[in-house]
Symmetry: C2
Subunit: 303 residues, 2 copies
């Protein structure tokens, strides 16, 4: 049989909530997920949502719950004030807050990290835990880490120290442009298929080589659809490649020659970033986001 | 009394429809406008909408109607195929199409212009008529013309010849980001006031100097609001300045030293572009969009 269940690890993001029961030997005893992310909850709902999520998991005797992510935002369960970068992520737990909760659970919420440098202001909540996880999974790593997503993060780390970071709105721009701009007319239809790869490649080249022309290049999606009957799949690929290319092309000065870049995120999105970095001759490797989050929560608990 | 009413000039855009009765001496006898732009009309509705718009204007005996804009798009009244750039805009009317219409009106719709250069594909409908108008208002002008708007156009002209052009999605990006992205939380409130100018100036500096960092700089709006309690007005100004700055900063190579740039568009938006070009030491002057459209329709009719 498995070791004794010891604590519960929770990743409470904007759109999703995930929990893992962790045994004394560090193995995962159970996992649960729900769409009840911060974005749809009022403050009072958190205790009940957490209780329901853990019902029937055999965690009745367990009190310790360690949470990372947007539950600690101002509009979340309880605000966990940001640590200031540069920050030693090994001390994350010292900045945790402990909301009151009826029943036997004693949750703590880890803080996010902010950068107050004028003109480079930035914030993260959740990614700092993944970065701590990377330091645990790859001891001694230092350099650039890229975390593709709705708000992609580029972080400069040195072991458990987060030196600086920058967010790019790549994923969110893709979504709002696809759904709400005039380009939606060119993106109405089947978005997958071979054409998508060709479009992605063309957009990537444009974004990487001329990131400063992004607002002009975006309109090329529409013009290309009108003039050369580009398919919706080609247009979707071009838009994706253009935005990813512009994110990377505009921040080339963060890249250190000859250093492999860990990409933390979903496997398929990270795959697109690997293609992009590959075009620049830069090696990268994918670190599964869930692995990083779990390793980070474990390390934060021990820190 | 005024001269005899001779023809009707029409600007039929995506969101608006405007018509002017023109006397034999070129003066404007009447003007009408309506929100019945191409975006909300099906093909069959155009004749009736035009008839209604002109009812009671004293134009009963007039048959000639010259139309520019999106009415000539594929999804408009009747497609007027694009002229290819480089194009002599003085010949615009030769590419006009004449939809059938009951009653005494004989409408003609002017074509737009496209650029088929691979990787620089672009289209315009309506702006080509304004550029012909500029050639008429400022005979002999050659150089860069900038047309701020939903899809800003940068055009290289030489008299009535349109050599090349490029569209930037600046205005539309502002709208979809303001309404649909996470930045909406920072833009919820009073958007006017002194703070807006300060934010505009900060965003402009960032966009002009680092257009390639646009997707990262966008997130600074959110981070700035969270960390330094920036007001919604400041954030709106920053977003506007950033997008205008990135449009201009990314296309600096179009600017010719020592040449004044005509800006065709609404007076207040053009004013923002004047501030932006001023920061680069580039002189510009505003040409009212309606003046340019009317001059262009007159010139096209005579061409």
């Amino acid at each position: 049989m498995s070791a004794q269940l010891e604590w519960v690890a929770v990743d409470w993001g904007t759109s999703n909530l995930r929990a893992w029961g962790i045994d004394a030997d560090g193995s995962v005893a159970f996992s649960r997920s729900s769409p009840e992310g911060m974005g749809r909850l009022s403050r009072e709902q958190y205790p009940e949502v957490l209780t329901s999520l853990l019902a029937g998991t055999g965690s009745d005797g367990v009190s310790e719950v360690l949470i990372c992510g947007m539950a600690g935002a101002r509009q979340g369960w309880m605000e966990a004030p940001y640590l200031d970068a540069p920050a030693d992520l090994a001390t994350l737990a010292s900045g945790a807050v402990a909301p009151d909760m009826p029943g036997g659970l004693e949750p703590r919420i880890l803080p996010g990290v902010c950068l107050r440098e004028v003109g480079a202001e930035d914030v993260m909540r959740g990614e700092e835990t993944q970065l701590l996880g990377l330091a645990s999974l790859s001891p001694g790593f230092s350099g650039l880490v890229v975390m593709p997503g709705t708000h992609s993060k580029w972080a400069q780390v040195d072991g458990t120290t987060l030196r600086r970071f920058s967010s790019a709105m790549t994923g969110e721009l893709f979504e709002v442009i696809r759904a709400h701009s005039v380009l939606r007319h060119s993106l109405d239809g089947e978005l997958e298929g071979e054409d998508r790869d060709t479009g992605f490649d063309a957009g990537l080249d444009q974004g990487l080589s001329r990131p400063g022309r992004l607002t002009a290049a975006l309109f090329k999606v529409r013009a290309g659809a009108l003039l050369t009957a580009r398919s919706p799949a080609w247009c979707a690929g071009f838009l994706s490649g253009l935005l990813i290319g512009a994110e990377i092309g505009g921040q080339k000065d963060w890249i250190q020659a000859g250093r492999e870049i860990p990409l933390i995120g979903g496997v398929s999105l990270c795959g697109l970033y690997q293609i992009a970095f590959g075009k620049l001759g830069v090696a990268s490797r994918v670190v599964d986001a869930t692995d990083a989050t779990l390793a980070g929560l474990k390390a934060a608990r021990q820190g």
